[in-house]
Amino acid sequence: MSDEIIIIDNLHKYFGSIEAVKAVNLQVKRGEVVVIVGPSGSGKSTVLRCINHLEVPTSGAVYIDGVHLEDKQTDINKVRAEVGMVFQQFNLFPHLTVLENVTIAQRKVRKRSKEEAEQIGMEQLRHVGIPEKASAYPRQLSGGQQQRVAIARALAMQPKIMLFDEPTSALDPEMIKEVLDVMLQLAEEGMTMVVVTHEMGFARAAARRVVFMDNGQVVEIDTPQVLFDRPQHGRTKLFLSKILKH
């Protein structure tokens, strides 16, 4: 088993004539936390979505635990079961209760029994700190609670990798911390995570490496200390000076 659980090899992605991602290479080790930062439209989400094949690369390759996603023989659903994803807009299933949200995929994909799925689901709801909301519907929850349920939903599949696409960007400021705390805890537990976020505090505390993307390209990859405090590239400096003003 290779140490690199995610390998992105010369990834290109076009949307029509827009080149959203240009020649991106990135490798993530088992248990590593990588944060991706960069201006809006720089291709962060597209790279992340190529990791679970929600976007199909125009060229290049993505390997998850040695499995080549673009290979026609690959059962993509099997790979996705091992790669959890958390979205900016939560995307909880509004017609299902919280417990059903965290059990449906376990039952249909992992083929677990109702009892087993509910037991694991409750475990994960405790993990994110809201077991008491199991029978509520998503609309009855605050944004922060919804996002924590979304994390529990992904974790209930017992994935090897977790992807986060701006998980706190849609939240009111007072709810950001409760979600970041759950993510920090996950990182400490050794989960492999790729996180698109502008939360510098989280990046400094959890990330081994930070990737700066601009204009579809990876400009710079380094430790949070170096990338945030002594960036090597002008574009990184410019970006950091802009977001630090806010």
């Binding site: 299933f93 449906i104 249909k108 979304a150 992904a154 599949m157």
Partner: protein, 264 residues
């Protein structure tokens, strides 16, 4: 000049409820009640009613069966309509546009006499033993399947893309995601529209009388033709359709309000 509605008189709320009151519903119920009295008291209306009313069974059976089949056809065609497979999508669009481009009455003839023979042939059934009722049901189902397909398509497209992405990112297949995540939400959203089409179909079922199906319309025509009691026959027929559709639309409104509250 200020209109009377601008004056803040103490009885303005009373005036308001007076204006908002569903007088149209009262008018319809008065008509239905008067018809009810006529049917009970007047022998000519009573005869017409006794002759026509048994056709209700055929009308309802035809409508309900055809609607159930149309739901399946509509779901399949609606899913086909948004399929990424070019062949599937174009077959679905052809079906939908073909049906939408031809009048319902003409389609009833075409389906019953042109489409049904090869289908029954393919199924190994002698075309001549296919009853007019069965032809009528197939015709209505095929026609409404195309209408319902557009409702299903709109319903599925009204669900945000994030729902499908979340389901797929958990490893669910396209079919599983549709079945457990998208369709339950879509069907809830479109249930009022489906209800409206059920009412429309109940009315359009009168057209199958052209196939000599003994529904209430056909019986009214027969009664009128044999007794020359045109007014009685067609007023009773009107009464029956109106009674059914008004009850159904009131149920539908009540249901819509209930799911509206649920969402609130």
């Amino acid at each position: 000049m200020t209109g009377p509605e601008i004056q803040a008189t103490p009885d303005s709320s009373w005036q308001n409820s007076w204006r908002e009151f569903p007088w149209w519903l009262v008018a319809i119920f008065v008509f239905l009640a008067l018809m009810g009295i006529l049917i009970i008291r007047n022998p000519a209306y009573n005869d017409a009613f006794k002759f026509i009313f048994p056709g209700i069974q055929v009308t309802l059976y035809t409508t309900i069966t055809a609607f159930a089949i149309a739901l399946v056809l509509g779901l399949l065609a609606g899913l086909g309509r948004i399929s990424r497979n070019t062949a599937v999508r174009n077959i679905a669009i052809t079906y939908i546009e073909f049906i939408r481009g031809v009048p319902t009455l003409v389609l009833i003839f075409t389906v019953a006499f042109v489409l049904v023979p090869p289908i029954s042939g393919a199924l190994g059934v002698d075309n001549r033993v296919v009853s007019p009722n069965t032809r009528a049901i197939i015709a209505l189902a095929v026609i409404y399947g195309a209408f319902l397909a557009e409702i299903f398509r709109a319903g599925i497209e009204s669900i945000s893309k994030g729902q499908m992405e979340a389901a797929r990112s958990l490893g669910m297949t396209y079919t599983q995601s549709m079945r457990y995540i998208i369709l339950p939400q879509a069907i809830r959203n479109i249930s009022p529209a489906l209800g409206n089409d059920f009412i429309a179909m109940l009315k359009d079922s009168s057209l199958v009388s052209v196939l000599a199906v003994r529904d209430i319309t056909q019986l009214a025509r027969l009664h009128a033709g044999s007794t020359f009691r045109f007014r009685e026959s067609y007023l009773v027929l009107t009464f029956l359709y109106l009674a059914m559709t008004i009850i159904l639309s009131l149920l539908l409104r009540w249901y819509e309000q209930r799911i509206g509250k649920d969402r609130g």
